[in-house]
């Protein structure tokens, strides 16, 4: 417990930084989704996410999940790493929420275990639907992130009418989120390396808050420097994004196919 909080926090930072690297790496692999125009992926995959949310039939949601897995395979994404990082986490989180629903949802009894209320058919269907829906939506949105470089993904959000100021702020937030995570990681690692013995709860709390304060000071200082750098480069409040995207034949084909699949899923799932 002496260094537990610091170690756990530092591990969290490391894991986020590793994830950022993995995303950038997989986005540059030669796969089917990686080769598509980012705008096609944003519109197409988000349509499938929407279809998942709108579908009322468990079979349709299952088919959409299967489609997402197939897309991951043709995009050369590691299913094992996907299972560990995405499916297992989503499963554990949703399962915890879904389990009581098995017993609490009123309906016809399916299975009676000793000492607990009966598991109902409606409860089972509801829990399964929740699990499949979450897994399917998470897989589809992960596909988008893992096959598109972050900056391209942001620029592609213009296709969804996201204001240019919001895109610029998202880009800056992402860049400095990674940088500040690195800074915080360095702060915690250096503290960890200097620590001997136990820290009481109050001291741990003080350490965390002071670290937060120092990080906030660094953040604000950096904010000033960023503004000066922007001014030095001629920023006068006008935001321009370089748009190097060009739709090709396969992009139109992929967009049509993804939108058709989403429309079909919505129609079948009603």
């Amino acid at each position: 417990m002496s260094t537990g909080v610091i170690t756990r926090t530092a591990r969290g930072f490391t894991s986020v930084l590793a994830q950022a690297l993995i995303s950038e790496h997989s986005a540059h692999q030669r796969g089917v989704l990686q080769a598509l125009d980012p705008r096609v992926k944003v519109v197409g995959l988000l349509s499938l996410v929407l279809a998942t949310a709108l579908s009322r039939h468990i079979a349709v949601v299952a088919v959409l999940l299967a489609l997402a897995v197939a897309l991951a395979l043709v995009s050369r994404l590691s299913l094992w790493s996907m299972a560990k990082r995405v499916w297992l986490v989503a499963f554990l989180f949703t399962f915890t929420i879904a389990v009581p629903a098995l017993f609490l949802t009123p309906g016809e009894p399916l299975l009676q275990l000793p000492g607990v209320p009966a598991i109902t058919a409606q409860g089972t269907r509801s829990a399964a639907m929740l699990l499949l829906r979450v897994e399917s939506a998470v897989t589809l949105s992960t596909l988008l992130v893992l096959t598109t470089p972050w900056m391209h993904l942001l620029k592609a959000l213009r296709a969804l009418m996201v204001p240019v100021e919001a895109i610029m702020m998202l880009a800056m937030t992402h860049r400095y989120a990674v940088l500040l995570t690195e800074t915080a990681n360095a702060m915690f690692e250096s503290r960890q390396s200097r620590m001997v013995g136990r820290l009481e709860g109050r001291e741990q709390r003080r350490l965390m808050i002071n670290s937060g304060g120092v990080l906030l000071s660094k953040t604000l200082e950096m904010g000033n420097q960023v503004f000066l750098a922007m001014q030095a480069r001629g920023f006068r409040g006008e935001i321009r994004l370089l748009d190097e995207f060009h739709m090709r034949g396969r992009d139109y084909f992929a967009l049509g196919a993804l939108l058709a699949a989403a429309a079909l899923a919505v129609a079948a799932g009603r």
């Binding site: 926090t9 009581p100 949802t105 929740l130 100021e165 992402h174 906030l216």
Partner: protein, 329 residues
């Protein structure tokens, strides 16, 4: 929930657009990045458990409700889009509950509780803690209500819920139990801690620095006023101040005795020192012996003289400040 959040984002962007030409744009983004990192802090809480703060309390105090709405939305969007936490479909609801409603709640609570409090007041720290605590719990309550009404709205023919499976009676206690204790406490501790830190390091950012300067001046004026009112006490002191003798004192036996007593029993010269005799008439004070002739009460005259004296010194200081060029650091 995207439909509920979108007009708020639009309003926030519109309100901030004028300021986005300046430092606000990087400040919002950097604050969002900070909030993203702070969400990963494992904050030890009294009782042995740990919790995570969002940073909505301090964001609302520093950036105001609109700026904080945008900054926390950005942090949540980065989490959902880039790191896959939270999911894209729930991003609208998360932003509405935590970023938008949370920011306004935090800002309102802070303003209300700290109303009229001095910059250094402990009440401001408590206000910051309550702002964080209230914001997180309001967000949780909104989320619980959104979960709780889903089984009523969305279910299939057999009655099986299609989305969240729990009714309000279960959703609200389940959500609030964790937030009223752990998550709320984490946010309260982080808000109060960061507020105290910023108050020491950068009070201008909290909008309380301009009040503290006049306050310091106000307390100085208070000390000066008390000192002025106490000036008649000087009359109570026996005899004249050492060295402040008048030429006539040298001829008065009683005065000579007092001079000798105050000077280590060294007797005063028999005649008035020639220097003193020559210079005594050089400067006739406008208020000789500190008491104008038309005032009978010595104490009041003393007080009036002190006020004139202080006024003259302040006037001179003001003049020097205006005339001399100010040197920038």
């Amino acid at each position: 929930m995207y439909a509920a959040s979108a007009p708020c984002w639009w309003m926030a962007l519109r309100r901030m657009r004028r300021k986005l030409f300046g430092r606000t744009l990087p400040l919002l983004s950097l604050f969002a990045a900070f909030s993203f990192v702070v969400m990963m802090f494992n904050l030890p809480l009294p009782g042995g458990t740990t919790g995570h703060a969002v940073g909505v309390g301090i964001a609302a105090i520093v950036l105001g409700p609109w700026g904080a709405s945008l900054a926390i939305s950005l942090a949540l969007a980065i989490q959902a889009l880039f790191f896959g936490d939270g999911g894209i479909t729930t991003l609208g609801a998360n932003c509405f509950n935590m970023a938008i409603a949370g920011s306004f709640a935090a800002w309102g609570i802070y303003r209300l509780v700290s109303l009229g409090a001095a910059a250094e007041s402990r009440r401001r720290v408590i206000a910051a803690a309550l702002a964080g605590y209230g914001a997180i719990n309001l967000s949780a309550l909104l989320a619980a209500v959104e979960f709780g009404i889903q089984p009523m709205l969305f279910h299939d023919a057999t009655g099986a819920p299609l989305y969240a499976p729990y009714r309000l009676g279960i959703a609200i206690p389940a959500m609030m139990a964790g937030h009223l204790t752990v998550a709320g406490a984490a946010e309260a501790v982080m808000s109060a801690g960061l507020f105290s830190y910023l108050r020491r390091s950068d009070p201008a950012l909290l909008g309380i620095a301009p009040q503290s300067a006049p306050r310091a001046a106000a307390s100085l004026w208070g000390v000066l006023a008390v000192a002025l009112l106490l000036t008649p006490l000087g009359i109570l002191a026996g005899g004249a101040a050492w060295g402040e003798w008048a030429p006539r004192d040298f001829a008065d036996a009683a005065a000579r005795a007092r001079i000798a007593a105050a000077s280590g029993n060294v007797a005063a010269p028999a005649a008035v020192p020639s220097g003193l005799a020559r210079l005594a008439s050089l400067w006739t004070a406008p208020m000789p012996s500190y008491a104008p002739q038309f005032i009978r009460s010595t104490a009041f005259g003393y007080l009036l003289s002190a006020m004139f004296g202080v006024g003259a010194i302040l006037g001179a200081a003001w003049l020097v400040q205006r005339v001399l060029p100010r040197r920038e650091p």
